[in-house]
């Protein structure tokens, strides 16, 4: 299959405006004749549904939670980047573009990233107009903070709850359209299959999670804004409900899955405390602005942190990366934390942790200022660990946080199935092999508010849609497939719970396809996953029926997809014989332990086609070209 990424040609500065002009429009009177399905109600899905509703399309929006406001975008803490240059510190659209391409370790498309940087400016304006209470100076102007991977302050924030406030902005815009009648909202309704008719995505099969009813929804286009797949690791900072099912079922229907092995490990999470642990809690990366990261110089030093004198501490990030110090990008910070813990210098009971120390900052600016900046994060840390971070250094450890991979999309955010668009974290497009902090919110809103309304319009204007309804053979067979899978899961009645399988899968993934990977480990993992999956289909115990609220059944379907995804991730990681961004293959590193890319052989997007469970997927390559930011070894030293 040749991948047509529809990248614009010509100067990058004008490529999006030119593309916008070239995209065909739908006449206002015709808009209401088109229906669009949006799956997911987070920053991407929610903003897309709201904006398409405003334009006059007939929109149906689906989410599995009880309200669109619960989408996991809500948990983003730190902020959202925008090239406003309000701080007069040398920022520009071009610099944000440059930082993002470099931060992504030269594995993202330049044109997409440039568009993202360009739109970032409008996002802030739009959100302010919606009433998002961004932090401000006393004089009333918007304020910014710096964030990992950048040397300018371009991050807008609303305390430690930026994601919440941006999501509520989108949610409110969405509810406004619900009130207007342009958007029909379907909460507690989970997409379980994509309906493809005559080669075009024309609808979905969804399950009502309360009554168990399956329903068919037909439309002219389907947009997935269903988030990332970090929960394949079981323990991650994702919400418990976050899953890959919508994306994966679309993948099974023919949408290619790109760069699945690109996962991001967030350096500042609260360390795991026990077997029962259900998820990991993130502490915003913004903490690294004032906190200093260190471990004891000596191995196995069990003294309490205040007993360790300055000379016996190793501020390893400041030592190794003098110019970025504690603000190196996430992948670098995470890998270094793992390295010092592997050396036996980790802290805390498990030895899997490093200190994030605020005592210098408190001495410098006072406890009050620190409280002002991070109060809610400190409170949360204390709530969970029962330690007071104003007095004792925090203990942090990396955790799975974000997935850069996702369904392959072209410049118009359309997948390889015509009419199926993928936005936000669910697609692969903008972050390359590593995402910079405060860029996820930017991408979700950029796709939803400012890109998809144009590109979906173009698709609708240039295609014809044959009448179809739930009685169409494709719809019937999709429903039958879903019913069959549900019945199968309920009928196994084996010995093990869904969670126990999920936890075991997560352990395999974390050990072999986590922060660092080896060919041998990945091969082993593929074998383990396959046999675990086989056991799953014979020994899982899903209680209850399909006719009411059955949370075990919901999980069972999602975990079934995680098995297939996990295998694909390992295959992708194995195929990519280089280290780049979040993908670190131990065989490929520089003498001083930095990731070593192989641009000659691996400067491409790996887009995988589905060939059935357990079968080797089909690899398609989209070569990457860099005309503006020339690939170099990333240096933060």
């Amino acid at each position: 299959m040749t991948l047509d990424s529809k990248l614009p040609t010509g100067p990058i500065e004008t490529s999006w405006p030119r593309t916008k002009f070239d995209l065909k429009l739908v006449n206002p009177a015709n808009k209401r004749k088109h229906s669009i399905i949006v799956v997911g109600s987070g920053l991407a899905g929610g903003s897309a549904a709201a904006t398409l509703g405003e334009l006059g399309y007939n929109v149906k929006c689906f989410c599995f939670q009880d309200s669109p406001r619960r989408a996991h975008s809500i948990a983003a803490q730190g902020g959202i980047n925008a090239a406003k240059n309000y701080q007069n510190d040398g920022d520009s659209v071009y610099r944000l573009f440059y930082d993002t391409v470099k931060g992504g370790d030269f594995r993202a498309r330049e044109a997409n990233v440039y568009r993202l940087a360009e739109i970032s400016v409008s996002i802030i304006d739009q959100c302010v107009a919606q009433g998002v209470p961004f932090a401000r100076e006393y004089g009333g102007a918007l304020t910014n903070r710096s964030f990992g991977g950048a040397q300018v302050s371009r991050t807008f924030y609303a305390r430690g709850q930026t994601g919440q406030q941006l999501l509520l902005g989108a949610y409110q815009a969405l509810e406004r359209q619900v009130h207007e009648g342009t958007v029909a909202m379907y909460p507690r309704t989970e997409m379980l299959d994509l309906i493809v008719i005559d080669g075009k995505a024309r609808g979905i099969v969804a399950r009502n999670l309360i009554t168990g009813e399956l329903s068919v929804h037909i439309a002219d286009a389907v947009i997935l804004g269903t988030g990332g797949y970090g929960n394949v690791y079981y323990l991650s900072t994702n919400a418990k409900g976050s899953n890959v099912t919508a994306s994966w079922r679309a993948h099974r229907r023919g949408a290619l899955f790109a760069n699945p092995c690109y996962t991001q490990i967030h350096p500042t999470c609260i360390p795991v405390s026990g077997e029962y642990q259900s998820k990991l809690t993130l502490m915003s990366e913004s903490l690294r602005n004032d906190g200093r990261i260190w471990v004891p110089l000596k191995k196995g030093d069990k003294r309490s942190p205040d007993q360790i004198p300055e000379a016996e501490r190793d501020y390893y990030l400041e030592r190794r990366y003098p110019s970025f110090g504690n603000l190196v990008p996430r992948d670098v910070a995470s890998r270094n934390a793992k390295a010092v813990c592997d050396e036996g210098r980790g802290v805390g009971e498990s030895g899997l942790g490093v200190y994030l120390d605020f005592s210098d900052a408190i001495r410098r600016v006072g406890e009050e200022t620190i409280r002002e900046r991070y109060g809610n994060l400190f409170d949360m840390y204390q709530r969970i660990t029962d330690e007071n971070p104003y007095k004792v250094p925090m203990r942090i450890y990396p955790a799975i946080h974000y997935t850069m991979g996702g369904l392959w999309v072209d410049y118009n955010l359309q997948s390889t199935i015509p009419g199926l668009f993928v936005i936000g974290e669910a697609n692969f497009s903008d972050h390359g092999a590593n995402r910079l902090g405060a860029s996820a919110l930017m991408q979700g809103l950029s796709d939803g508010y400012f890109v998809i309304p144009y590109t979906v319009g173009n698709y609708l204007a240039t295609n014809k849609f044959a009448p179809a309804d739930a009685s169409h053979p494709e719809a019937r067979s999709a429903v039958a497939g879903v019913q069959q899978m549900t019945e199968k899961l309920l009928s196994i009645k084996g010995k093990r719970t869904v969670d126990s399988f999920h936890r075991e899968l997560g352990k395999i993934m974390w050990d072999e396809c986590g922060m660092s990977r080896t060919a041998a480990g990945l091969q082993k993992a593929i074998g383990q996953i396959r046999s675990l999956r086989e056991e799953y289909w014979q020994n899982v115990n899903v209680p209850g029926s399909s006719a009411d609220l059955n949370q075990s059944l919901e999980k069972a379907g999602r975990v079934a997809d995680f098995f297939e995804l996990g295998e694909l991730m390992c295959i992708d990681a194995l195929e990519r014989n280089e280290s780049c961004g979040g993908h670190f293959r131990e065989e490929y590193q520089t003498p001083d332990g930095e990731a070593q890319r192989d641009d000659e052989h691996y400067s491409y997007v790996a887009a995988w086609g589905y060939r059935g469970p357990g079968n080797q997927p089909e690899l398609n390559k989209e070569p990457l070209e860099f005309n503006y930011v020339h690939p170099s070894q990333r240096s933060y030293k």
Partner: protein, 229 residues
Amino acid sequence: MSTAAVTPHENRAPNFWQSTNGKKVVMAVTGAIMFLFIIGHVAGNLQIFEGPAKLNAYGHFLHSIGELLWPVRIVLLLCVGLHITATVQLAMRNKAARPVGYSRKQAINSSYASRTMYWSGPIVLAFIIFHLLQFTAGYIHPGSQFIEGDVYHNVVAGFQVWWVSVWYIIAVSLLGFHLRHGLWSMFQSIGYNHPRHTPLLKKAAFVIALLITLGYISIPISVLAGFIK
């Protein structure tokens, strides 16, 4: 368009009086008017300490301005009526709002006075009816003969009956409780709350409620103790 999951059938919006917020505003305003009456009343009553002549003259004065007295009484009755109507309707709505109760429920943030408004109100009402029958109309006047116009005699003779005094003291104390919450709550209901002023308002409500209560119950206590004969 049909929206299976969120059918937006239109309904008429509730008007001001139909809304709970509107009723609370009515309760705040009527409560405030009744509060003014309570202040005036206690000020009048306390003249008992200046002797029979003064108090009886005050009583005559009130009766002599009949064309003003009745409008005032009508306004007060209206206030009582509206205050009670709103309360009853809200109470019924509130009961319906939680058809299945909790097996266990702890209050963690509210004052005792605020949680007892529902029964301090009705008891105070029952007392007021009794009080009017005793001192205004003279229908019930245990222990002595009601003398039209001799306010001083009626009060002293009335309170010399111990259970009248006890009933009076209990009812007025409940009125104090009612005021302690109501006095600041009325500001909240009409939309005034300020992080610095409201705590002061709450304190003031407490002090005013206490002073009013003390002012009222000083009379039966003085009668029972024999300070006033």
